[in-house]
């Protein structure tokens, strides 16, 4: 009984803090329609800042609280809305999810940048009034901190309910979601209300962060603290992001469940108790999604978005795929082994990103845990897809195919409960799956026995995955594996483009635009979503298997949910509608960021006096993916769209294209023969790509015109200066002004105008 009471009361306290975090989510979601994935990161930042002010600088608690909760947190929320979230109106659900995710990743790297993750003395975060200020309630010893936390939760619950029901500003906040334009026509100021609500949401996140850090008693780690508040998502889902009373119930259930596990699942008897406890919020999130009622199908009016993707033709796709293989082959000949390995890693990541192009770019659904499917695939291959041992071990083709099939089935199981719901819920289901895999599956490192069968899922915490051997081809060497990965990527990309051009692909596009219209046409939206999700999971699984084979051995850090988020973020930045967007994402994440950081670090060690500057730049680069991610609201179609548009000019002019290719081959040949080193290769290539097109374009244009016997055109403002003004020029100007239909009485134009004004119409 004593145990029960103790853990019930503690569960209520933890539930209370979950509620505070979840209510912040509800507040921002109801007013701006944006699910704030950064909620956990804001809580984490606040906890760190509070620690810095309170114990780092030794301020008194009230002053520190005032600074963090009263000033910094609301300010952060308001600035977030004004600078970033405001631009998300009229973008697709994907962008609305990706941008807050970008903010979250940015805050994470910011925190590890400012607060060294491995400090010399551990950061200690104490409870209010210290751990010894306790009272006894029902024979249970409670700290004042815990009591304060619980009562704050109740006060906040009442406060928000009052705000939303009984104050005009609160009702107006709900009105903003319905129709911001109409609220404006009523005389309200939607922008101001949304800013206010974001400030409030950030305040609640910060409060939750400061309250929960000492209760959990964990060391202050940015990732762990962020995930702690993400657990509150389950509570928010419980209330369907709308109802506060239900959110409260959900939070309390969550708090109690996690604490009862500690109480009644003895960790000394079952080794999985710890993992199970930390997975409970995600399991609960999943269960909640299962029981939520079906979402109403929506028509096109809500989905009129700013993203635009033009599908390349199948021919273009084949050419692009071939060019990619040739380019990688050429690069391979001049690269060092480490560089080849890095590039191969990048390309395997690109394959994983390709799964997102299919799912998100084509079908408009979201998977936040692509790498977790990669983890499943890797586990399958490890257990069933390896022949031979030691140095002769090879991955078999059957192993890869089996991995793909299993991933598809797991994908179906994950997606099934959320398919009836809108994209956001599927995204959250995949996130729950990803966290679950990280916390529960990848921690299964010991041997278990079930029904007499002995097995260990993630043996020893690190799996050794060999390179594949397919038929007569052995891909053990780094070179051959790079080519394998590239060819697989190219084939899959072409396959996706042809899929998009097929009947099935058109149905996907239709579903993305208007699920309601699809349903009325007799399509089964659920079956379509399910099939595309399974396909995407299979691709992610194959990509993950190849990634593991490239790395040789993998541990659970390689499949972290945050890495999945970075890949998705970068694919969206590149252009989620294109296979090239996936390549952009994988190569940027797998190679470029690493390469830039290595270069900067090397420069730092070469020029000791500037080491601090280069160190700063290294950290700055680590924030880079997040920074470009948050600008997506302004350019939701991605970088590839811009690149493709700039390539149009080159494609049109054959001589220019041939010149560029010729120059590039020459540069490559020089590097291959060792005449120039790789640094020069990079510089020359950049010059060829960036400077030749505009320069060559202008030269060629003039040449072509001269050839045809036409003088290059003189800009209109220079006519009459560079060459005499002719009758043709006058006609051209009149035509441009729309005056050619008007017979001008040249003798008296002024008089004519006056008459026109007075004449009867």
């Amino acid at each position: 009984m004593q145990t029960f009471l103790q853990y019930t009361i503690l569960g209520l306290v933890v539930g209370g803090v979950y509620f505070i975090a979840a209510s912040g989510l509800v507040v921002t979601y109801t007013t701006s329609g944006i699910f704030n994935f950064a909620q956990g990161a804001i809580a984490m930042l606040a906890a760190f800042t509070y620690w810095q002010v309170r114990w780092g600088w030794g301020w008194p608690a009230p002053l520190a609280l005032l600074l963090v909760l009263g000033v910094l947190a609301p300010l952060l929320g308001a600035v977030l809305y004004q600078v970033i979230m405001k631009n998300l109106r009229g973008t697709s659900e994907v962008t609305k999810i990706i941008v807050p995710v970008g903010v979250m990743l940015g805050f994470l790297s910011l925190a590890t940048w400012i607060w060294n993750p491995t400090p010399r003395t551990p950061r200690l975060f104490y409870k209010f009034f210290g751990a010894n200020a306790t009272v006894k309630i029902f024979d249970v010893r409670l700290t004042w901190h815990e009591i304060i936390a619980f009562f704050l939760a109740i006060v906040i619950a009442g406060g928000i309910a009052f705000l939303f029901r009984r104050t005009r500003s609160g009702v107006a906040m709900r009105a903003v979601v319905d129709d911001p334009d109409l609220l404006q026509l009523n005389g309200g100021r939607p922008e101001r209300l949304a800013t206010l609500s974001w400030a409030g949401g950030a305040f609640l996140a910060a409060l939750a962060g400061i309250l929960i850090t000492p209760i959990q008693g964990t060391a202050m780690s940015a990732n762990a603290l962020t995930l702690l508040v993400i657990d509150a998502f389950a509570a928010a889902m419980f209330g369907r992001l709308k109802s506060l009373p239900r959110t409260f119930v959900g939070a309390i259930v969550l708090g109690l469940a996690t604490n009862y596990v500690i109480a009644y699942f003895p960790a000394n008897k079952w080794t999985w108790t710890g993992a199970f406890r930390s997975s409970i919020p995600m399991i609960l999130l999943f269960v909640v999604l299962l029981v939520l009622p079906q979402d109403r199908l929506r028509g096109a009016t809500v989905l009129r978005t700013r993203e635009r993707f033009r599908m390349p033709s199948l021919r273009t796709a084949w050419i692009a795929g071939l060019v990619l293989v040739v380019v990688v082959w050429a690069l391979r000949t001049i690269m060092a082994t480490t560089a080849i390995n890095t590039l191969a890693y990048g390309i395997t990541l690109s394959i994983i990103a390709l799964s997102l192009v299919l799912l998100t770019g084509y079908a408009g659904e979201i998977n936040l845990a692509a790498l977790s499917f990669g983890a499943i695939g890797t586990i399958i291959v490890f257990h069933y897809g390896i022949s031979g041992t030691g140095n002769d071990a090879r991955m078999t083709l059957w192993g890869i195919l089996l991995a793909a099939v299993v991933c598809a089935v797991v994908g179906a199981l994950v997606a099934l409960p959320a398919l009836r719901l809108r994209g956001l819920y599927l995204a959250l289901a995949t996130m729950a799956f990803g966290v679950f895999v990280s916390r529960m599956v990848l921690t299964e490192i010991g041997e278990r026995e079930l029904f007499g069968i002995k097995f260990s899922i993630f043996q020893g915490g690190s799996l050794t995955i060999p390179r594949p051997e397919i038929g007569p081809f052995d891909f053990k060497s780094n070179d051959s594996f790079l080519m394998l990965a590239t060819v697989v990527f190219a084939l899959m990309a072409v396959g996706l483009v042809s899929l998009r051009h097929s009947n099935y692909g058109r149905r996907l596009a239709a579903m993305k635009d208007s699920p309601a219209a699809c349903a009325t046409l007799g399509m089964s939206v659920v079956r379509l979503k399910l099939s595309v999700f399974m396909m995407s999971a299979a691709i992610a699984g194959v990509g993950g298997v190849l990634m593991s084979a490239q790395l040789g051995s993998v541990n659970l850090d390689r499949f972290d949910i945050f890495l999945s988020l970075v890949i998705l973020l970068l694919t969206v930045v590149g252009g989620i509608g294109y296979a090239s967007g996936a390549l952009f994402s994988g190569v940027l994440f797998g190679c470029s960021i690493l390469a830039i950081q290595n270069t900067l670090t090397k420069l730092g060690s070469d020029y000791k006096s500037l080491e601090a500057v280069f160190g700063f730049l290294v950290s700055a680069v680590s924030v880079m993916p997040a920074t470009i991610g948050v600008t997506m609201g302004k350019n939701p179609s991605g970088a590839i769209t811009d690149i493709v548009e700039s390539l149009e000019g080159i494609k049109k002019s054959k001589p220019l294209m041939l010149t560029m290719i010729g120059l590039q081959v020459l540069i490559w040949a020089l590097a291959w023969q060792g005449v120039i080193n790789n640094w020069h290769f990079v510089i020359f290539t950049a010059a060829n790509l960036l400077i030749v097109p505009p320069l060559g374009g202008a030269v060629l244009k003039n040449m072509a015109l001269k050839k045809a016997g036409v003088e290059p055109p003189v800009p209109p403002e220079l006519i009459g200066i560079d060459r005499p003004f002719t009758d043709d020029d006058r006609l051209a100007i009149e035509h441009a002004l729309g005056l050619d239909a008007v017979p001008l009485p040249v003798s008296a134009p002024v008089h004519h105008q006056e008459e026109a004004a007075h004449a009867p119409a």
Binding site: Q184, N186, G188
Partner: protein, 261 residues
């Protein structure tokens, strides 16, 4: 001398004293309540208004007529401040109000009932009325006016507005127009998707509001209903006001506007 009528490109100056402009007694003494001068407006790269001139004299009902996609709703959006014109001037009681946001105009006495139902579906009836008070009238007054005119709303004050019938929703929207006592009322496609009886009922209310001295600009596809209460009408075609005048003067033009062109 042959003079070619401005071809509707909108380059030309407005015609302030053409024969179909409103009678001079409104324009000479004091500025009209609402005046658009050479308004051009665009959605992204597509220009939909090519130089619209329009006058709403104090205390009158002006009807904007024209087929689908002619630009009627866009004109109302410009007037209400939801869409900023790319060129031209919007005058409200003689003051240029270009650049004023919709909420500023609302607090200055412009009440707009937008196309569709001008209500918040996830708010209760009473909360919807509460939002109307942002224009500066107390809630008690809004509720009193609304429930007196539409007793049905009084019965349903706790019901979510989105769950009511189309006619009831339009009543809720109109009660805002009744309660806030605006200087200018902008109505967009009041009849959309409603039964003829309900429409007739709604226009009775519009006429009543007009008798209280409120100037009204109303857009409507179905000309007959609105011409009964309008003093002036303007035909909008392809983003231009092609004709203005009293309803009688426009009688013949109307069929041409809808069928021809």
């Amino acid at each position: 001398m042959t003079i070619i009528e401005p071809s509707g490109n909108g380059h030309e100056a407005p015609r302030p004293d053409g024969p179909h402009a409103p009678p001079p007694e409104h324009t000479l003494d004091e500025p009209p309540l609402l005046q658009l001068k050479g308004i051009r407006a665009a959605y992204g790269p597509i220009e939909v208004l090519h130089g619209v001139d329009l006058v709403v004299p104090e205390g009158s009902v002006v009807a904007l007529l024209g087929p689908n996609g002619a630009g009627k709703s866009t004109i109302l959006k410009v007037c209400s401040g939801l869409l900023q014109p790319s060129a031209g001037e919007v005058h409200l009681a003689g003051r240029i109000v270009n650049g004023a946001s919709a909420d500023q105009l609302a607090r200055l006495g412009v009440c707009t009932i937008p196309e569709g139902r001008g209500i918040f579906p996830n708010l209760t009836v009473r909360e919807n009325l509460w939002m109307a008070t942002m224009a500066g009238v107390p809630l008690d007054h809004v509720e009193e006016v609304a429930y007196a005119r539409f007793p049905r709303l009084g019965e349903r004050r706790k019901q979510l507005a989105g769950t009511m019938s189309g006619g009831e929703q339009q009543m809720l929207a109109m009660s805002r127009a009744l309660a806030v006592n605006p200087a200018l009322l902008l109505l967009d496609e009041l009849s959309m998707g409603l039964a003829p009886l309900v429409v007739a009922n709604l226009y009775e209310i519009v006429a009543q509001v007009s008798e209280e001295g409120v100037s009204i600009l109303v857009s409507e596809q179905f000309a007959r209903t609105v011409l009964g209460i309008a003093q002036y009408a303007a035909i909008v075609l392809h983003g231009n006001v092609t004709r203005e005048g009293t309803p009688e003067e426009l009688e013949d033009e109307l069929s041409a506007a809808y069928l021809g062109s």
